[in-house]
Each structure stands twice: as structure tokens, then as C-alpha cells.
């Protein structure tokens, strides 16, 4: 099968894009040069969607709207999405009267749908339909709807979509650590079985078994007829049961995969909802904030009290009265020095009035005129001394009260004031900040509608239960199948014994013999494919992988990667020195991880001898130098149609290889990259991805990019 061209319309940012692919044997390479965010992965999705539809390719409905974002912004409410793919395939076709022949056919496949925006700004998808036409020299013949899926499955089975359409993520799906060993094995075994066509062969074997049973039943040998019929009935019954249960098991596996995909999508939605804010967590945060604010408030009150105490202290008074106080102190000291402090007259004068004689001996008696006169003089002196005594008493009291006071250390108070004032201001600032943060938090909490998160978590629980129930049913079916296979094998042994006893002259016996021969041939083919071909896939994968990463353990014992193997259990295992195993997803660097996956895909393609396209998105990412060149060389050596989406950086260093193999090359540009990454303003107003015919070495006005160091 080879892809010829595609026309993508309104598929996300691919508004109207035509792709064409090289089908030349000599130049099998198609390079689509595109920088990041230019629709490489979207192109892949579009091609896969065109082939397999929304159910198989896109994540959960609504999680991956196809609606182009700019149309939504422009108020468009409804858009038709379509992908048209033309491919050619060599196929076996029934041509009537039980005849088949190999034909080379060319088909045009058109898948379309309508997407519309709802009132809640969600996008719904409806009317998805697919049409197919056989393209002939004289026009196009429509293909009946029932045959469309059969043609796609026959050309490029859906089980192989991860093999033929690989991008940075799915390329790793065979080895990714996130998947369980069982899931990885299932992916690998599905790819192997689909590519080796085991489904058709198993179906052939089943049909042959039934045909042989019919012949066996027709054998005319009355002695064993009943017994043979009974055994044949049993075998037919088991065969039908096994077929039915396998179908059911497949359906459960599909449902399980789908549930896992849904669960993954749901978890992404939960993550996204959590990014908007976990309301319950924010409420806990709010409580902590409130406690913090209470602490800050207490702290502020304490700081304020300390500041108040400082302002009302004696020290602050001393600062304010310092200058007059020092003058007063000098005056008081002088008075004291002159023995004027303490000095009072009234008590001494009053004592004189109690005496008849003065201290000097003069008469003070009340009986004499002199004494009376002197006593009057003393009394006058007492009266006149009252105000000066009061002053002197106050001065003495003041002097003794303040003489030890120091007025010179006011700077200490100022320092103290500065500290306490600063602490108070800080406490106010902290409180204000915490208050603001709390208000902001309140606003955030008020703005969160956590009903969506609750709903998603409920959905997650339901889905988990569903997945668990599917796993249980899967286990039951597997056990039933194993039991039926054992019983069928026992019945077949019985039948062999009976058949050996039957006469061989009967014509039915001849038919039976030939049926068994054919059955044996197909049995051997299945065995060979499962064993020898699987081993060949393993050997080829090992060879391609070691060549890709430039490892030669025989020439250099110091090599870190010595071998890769695909085990009988479908595990991809990488070995280090002395046979130690390396976890491919965790023990290998990015380039080697990419190399092992691509090596597996190429080995599988080579061994199956299938002609099919390898569409790979950024296969050379995370690689450089030898490994980069080697991966590209191996892809070209092993593939029949190689379609690579490459960034400019990936192309750098492999231009010569591309020169040799490229049959078709063009460049995609995202006009939104102007002016930061694009040099020239796009000439079209459209926001969709633009195509120009520039090859891997040239640029034009449309695709010329700026190369700059990002600081």
C-alpha cells in the first residue's frame, strides 16, 4: 500500500492543506519540513482519522475538538471537517465464480464530519461519514459502504496504525514505562500478529477444520459413524465456542483499551481542573492564612504596646526638658555649693519665739518692751520668709531629686525608638500582606466551580470500576478459551483414533485426507510465523538497532549496549555488558529509545515483506551525528515508502542523505510565528498552515525563519 496524496480541510489548524507523497522506488522518501507547532502531529492525526475514524484515533469526544480555533474566535458555530486520502494497493480481489486475482487498485477515501460549538462553548461532532471510490482511468466508481472497512483493513489494518503512523509519543508506546508489561506485550503482539497476518491464517485453519469435519461426517462407516458424528459435533461446538469467546475477548480487550484511553483523558481533565485550583485544598490554605493573620495581629498589638511604653517613659521627658534642665541643674548645684540648700528660716525664727532670749543673748521675753518689740520683728521676719522658704524647699527637693539624673544618653532612647517603631511597622506590613493574600484567596475560592472536578472524580471512579469489571470478564473468557482449547484437543485426538479405523477407500476419506494435509500446511505456516519469523523479527531488530546506535559488541568489549531481543512473550529487551538487561524506557537515552522502537517497526515490516508507508513524525528528535544519520539511513534502507515530518534542526546534518533519496519535499509554515520566528509577514490573512514548495535546503519569502539564540 502506498499513500498518494491527501487533502485536509478544517482539521484543527490545517484549514486547507494538500499533501502529496513520493511513490518512486528509487526515491522513496517524502520530507515535510515543518517547525514546531506547525501541524506535523496534526497531519498524522488527520491521516489516521481519515483511515480509521474518530472512535479509533481521537481521544474522548470533546477532548480533542477538530474545530479550528481561529474560526471559533471569529464566531463560527459550525464547520465541516474533511480528510481526503488517495492510496494505491496491491490486493487480492474476488472476480466472481469463486475466482480471485491480484490487482493493483487505486482508491480515494473521504471522511467528513460536522463540528459545532454549543452554548456552553463545548464542541460536538456529528454526521461522521466515510465514502470510498475506486479511481479508474475513466472515472471513479463508488465502493459499497460494507466493503470500505474491509478495504482499509486489508490495505493498512487498524492494529498496525501505531506501526505505520508513529510520532514522538506513540513511537515509544511499545516500550514506555508508563504502560504495564502486559499492555506493552499486548501492543507488541498485536502488531506482530497483525503484520504477520495471523488472523487470516487462524480463520483459514478454523474453516479447514469445519470443512474436514464435514468430510469426516460423510464417511460411510456404520461402525464408527455415530461415534465420529458425536466427536465432530463436540469439536464443532468447541470451535464455535472458542471463536465466539475470542470475539468476546477481543471486544473486552477493545473495551479495556478504550476504558484506559478514557481514563487517561479523564485524568488529564482532572489535572487540568486541579490546575484551576483544588477548592478543598484552598480552603485548608485559607485556615492556615487566618491563623497566620491572628498571629500577626497579636504581634502588632505587642509591638504597639512596647512603642507606647517607650513614648510615655521618663527618658522621653528628659529629652524634651534637657536644655532648661541642665541650666537649672547648674543653678541648683551652685546654690548647694553656697550651702543654700537646704536652707529654711521659719523653723529657727519660730524657735526664737519659744525662747526668752535670742541665740545672741538679746532679750526676747514678752514682758519687756524690748523683748516685745523684738518678738514682733521676729514675727514679721517669719511672715516675710514664708515665700522664700517655700521656694528654697522646692529647690532643695528638686536638687536632691534630680542631682543623680543623667541627661546626656538620649541616643540610646532614639535607637530603642527606631527599633520598636520599625518592628511595629513591619508587623503592620505583614498583617496587611496576609490580609491581601487572604482576600485574593477568598476571591479564587469564590471563583472555583469544583462541581466539574467532583463530577470528573466520580466519572473516574465509575470508569475504574468499569475497567476492573472488564478485566474480570477478560480473565473469565481467557480461562474459558483455555479450557475449551484443551477439550477440543482431546476430542481431536479421539477423532484421529476413530478416523484411523475408518476405511480409506471412501471418496470422502480422500477429501478428508486432503483437507487434513491442507490443514497441516497452514498449521505449519502459523507455527513458523510464530516461531521462526518472530525470531527473525528479533534478529533483524537487533541488527538494525545496533547499526543505528553504532554499537559493535564484537569489535569493542566496552560497548554499553550489546543486544536487543524480542522474546517469545513479546517483550522488547535490551542487553548491556555481560548480559545484564536494560529497561528500554528508563535505561536508554532518548536517541536509543527512538532507535529501538523504529528498529522494531522496520524489522517487522521487513520480515513480513509488506509494502506499506512509514509515516514518522520527528524521528530524528533527540539524535545527532552518527546516530541521526544512521537512523535515517536504516529507515530508507528497510522501508518502501518513507514519509517523514522533520524540523529544520532534524534536517541539519542529514541534507546529503535526503538529497539522495527524496522524491517529494515541501515546507509547512505557521503564519502565527511572524514576527518572532518568521522573517517576513505572511501575505495571506488566513491563520491556517501554509505550504510552499521549498525543499530541505532552500527558503522563500513565506518560510524564511529567524535563527537566533534565545536568552
Amino acid at each position: 500500500m502506498k499513500l498518494l496524496n491527501a487533502h485536509i480541510k478544517n482539521f484543527r489548524l490545517l484549514k486547507d492543506l494538500r499533501l502529496n507523497f513520493s511513490t518512486s522506488l528509487e526515491k522513496p522518501l517524502t520530507v515535510i519540513r515543518a517547525a514546531n507547532e506547525t501541524g506535523k502531529t496534526t497531519c498524522e492525526y488527520a491521516l489516521m482519522w481519515g483511515l480509521y475514524g474518530s472512535k479509533s484515533v481521537l481521544p474522548k469526544k470533546g477532548a480533542y475538538p477538530l474545530f479550528p480555533a481561529d474560526l471559533e474566535g471569529a464566531g463560527e458555530k459550525r464547520v465541516e471537517v474533511s480528510v481526503e486520502i488517495e492510496f494505491q494497493v496491491e490486493e487480492i480481489r474476488s472476480v466472481g465464480r469463486g475466482k480471485q486475482q491480484v490487482e493493483s487498485s487505486r482508491y480515494r477515501l473521504i471522511r467528513s464530519c460536522i463540528e459545532y460549538a454549543t452554548k456552553d462553548d463545548e464542541v460536538n461532532r456529528q454526521s461522521e461519514s466515510v465514502q470510498m471510490f475506486a479511481v479508474k482511468s475513466n472515472g471513479c466508481d463508488p465502493i459499497p459502504a460494507l466493503e470500505v472497512t474491509e478495504i482499509i483493513e486489508s490495505s493498512l489494518p487498524e492494529a498496525l496504525k501505531d506501526v505505520y503512523f508513529t510520532d514522538g509519543d506513540s513511537a515509544m508506546s511499545f516500550i514506555e514505562a508508563a504502560a504495564t508489561a502486559g499492555v506493552k506485550r499486548k501492543r507488541v503482539s498485536n502488531a506482530v500478529e497483525a503484520l504477520l497476518g495471523l488472523e487470516i491464517l487462524n480463520s483459514t485453519t478454523n474453516h479447514l477444520e469445519r470443512v474436514a469435519s464435514v468430510f469426516s461426517g460423510e464417511i460411510d462407516d456404520t461402525d464408527y459413524a455415530d461415534e465420529l458424528e458425536r466427536v465432530n459435533d463436540k469439536i464443532s461446538g468447541w470451535t464455535e465456542d472458542i471463536e465466539e469467546w475470542e470475539q468476546e475477548r477481543k471486544e473486552y480487550e477493545y473495551q479495556g483499551d478504550y476504558a484506559l484511553k478514557e481514563l487517561k483523558g479523564l485524568r488529564q481533565n482532572i489535572e487540568a481542573a486541579l490546575q484551576l485550583g483544588d477548592k478543598s485544598q484552598l480552603i485548608e490554605d485559607k485556615k492556615l492564612f487566618e491563623k497566620q493573620i491572628s498571629r500577626y495581629s497579636e504581634n502588632r498589638d505587642q509591638e504597639l504596646k512596647a512603642l507606647s511604653r517607650l513614648i510615655s517613659s521618663k527618658a522621653v521627658s528628659k529629652i524634651f526638658i534637657k536644655e532648661p534642665a541642665l541650666v537649672a541643674m547648674d543653678m541648683l548645684r551652685n546654690l548647694n555649693k553656697d550651702n543654700q540648700l537646704p536652707k529654711v528660716n521659719i523653723p529657727i525664727l519660730e524657735e526664737l519665739l519659744d525662747r526668752d532670749n535670742c541665740f545672741c543673748g538679746e532679750d526676747l521675753s514678752e514682758g519687756s518692751n524690748d523683748g516685745q518689740r523684738r518678738r514682733e520683728a521676729v514675727k514679721e521676719a517669719i511672715e516675710s520668709s514664708r515665700s522664700s522658704d517655700a521656694i528654697q524647699e522646692n529647690a532643695s527637693s528638686l536638687f536632691y531629686g534630680v542631682r543623680s539624673e543623667n541627661f546626656s544618653n538620649d541616643s540610646l532612647w532614639m535607637d530603642d525608638y527606631a527599633d520598636k517603631s520599625s518592628a511595629y511597622q513591619n508587623s503592620i506590613t505583614s498583617l496587611s500582606e496576609a490580609d491581601n493574600a487572604l482576600k485574593k484567596l477568598d476571591k479564587t475560592i469564590a471563583g472555583i466551580d469544583d462541581s466539574r472536578l467532583k463530577e470528573l472524580k466520580e466519572q473516574e471512579d465509575l470508569l475504574k470500576n468499569k475497567a476492573a469489571s472488564i478485566t474480570t470478564e477478560l480473565g473469565k473468557r481467557t480461562a474459558q478459551i483455555e479450557d475449551a482449547v484443551t477439550r477440543k484437543a482431546e476430542a481431536e485426538e479421539d477423532r484421529q483414533k476413530i478416523e484411523r479405523r475408518l476405511g480409506k477407500t471412501n471418496t470422502s476419506a480422500g477429501k478428508l485426507t486432503l483437507s487434513r494435509r491442507v490443514q497441516a500446511v497452514f498449521g505449519q505456516i502459523v507455527d513458523k510465523l510464530k516461531q521462526e519469523e518472530l525470531r527473525r523479527v528479533s534478529q533483524e531488530m537487533n541488527r538494525i538497532f545496533l547499526e543505528m546506535i553504532g554499537s559493535d559488541p564484537e569489535a569493542n568489549s566496552r560497548t554499553l549496549i550489546t543486544r536487543a531481543e524480542l522474546t517469545d512473550d513479546f517483550d522488547i529487551v535490551v542487553y548491556g555488558p555481560s548480559g545484564t538487561t536494560i529497561n528500554p524506557d528508563q535505561g536508554l537515552n532518548g536517541a536509543s529509545r527512538r532507535a529501538i522502537t523504529i528498529a522494531f517497526i522496520l524489522a517487522l515490516t521487513k520480515v513480513s515483506e509488506v509494502e506499506a508507508p512509514n509515516v514518522i513524525d520527528t524521528p530524528l528528535g533527540m539524535t545527532s551525528g552518527y546516530v541521526k544519520q544512521s537512523i535515517l539511513n536504516q529507515c530508507l534502507k528497510e522501508g518502501t515508502q518513507i514519509i517523514l515530518f522533520l524540523t529544520h534542526d532534524e534536517i541539519h546534518g542529514v541534507e546529503n542523505i535526503i538529497d539522495d533519496y527524496v522524491g517529494t519535499v515541501f515546507t509547512l509554515t505557521n503564519p502565527a510565528h511572524y514576527p518572532v520566528m518568521l522573517v517576513n509577514e505572511p501575505s495571506e490573512d488566513d491563520k491556517g498552515i501554509l505550504r510552499c514548495e521549498c525543499d530541505h535546503r532552500h527558503t522563500c519569502k513565506q518560510c524564511e525563519r529567524r535563527y537566533m539564540e534565545v536568552a
Binding site: 469463486g98 480471485q100 485426507t513 497452514f522
Partner: protein, 69 residues
Amino acid sequence: MSISYKKINSMIRSIVNDLQDLDEHQKDILCELCQKIYMKESAVGSSSKQQLMNEIKGEIALKADKFQG
């Protein structure tokens, strides 16, 4: 298609050639029959399952006499 029909045809030829108890004529018949059945099984636009089995049965019945010699 998935696995190449050419590869299956060559595997059929190789397996049948290794069958020691058959003569060349029988090998040719068996080989042709197996290849025909595989073509029927993998054909696009083929008939129903029952019809397919009838066709296989018919092909075997047709070759059985020649195969027996």
C-alpha cells in the same frame, strides 16, 4: 494487506516441498490448493463465511481424486 501474499505463497511451497511422502504431482496439487485457499481467505469483496467454506470444500473435493491418483 498485512503479510505479503507472496511470502505466504513461498512458505506454502517450501513446506510442501519438504513433505517426503508425496510425489511431485501431489506436491503441485497440494501447493496450488493451499495457495488458492489463502487467496480466497484474504480476498477483498469476498462472499459470506458459509459461502467461503463451501468454496473451500469445493476446491478440496475437486482436487481430492487427482491427489489420490
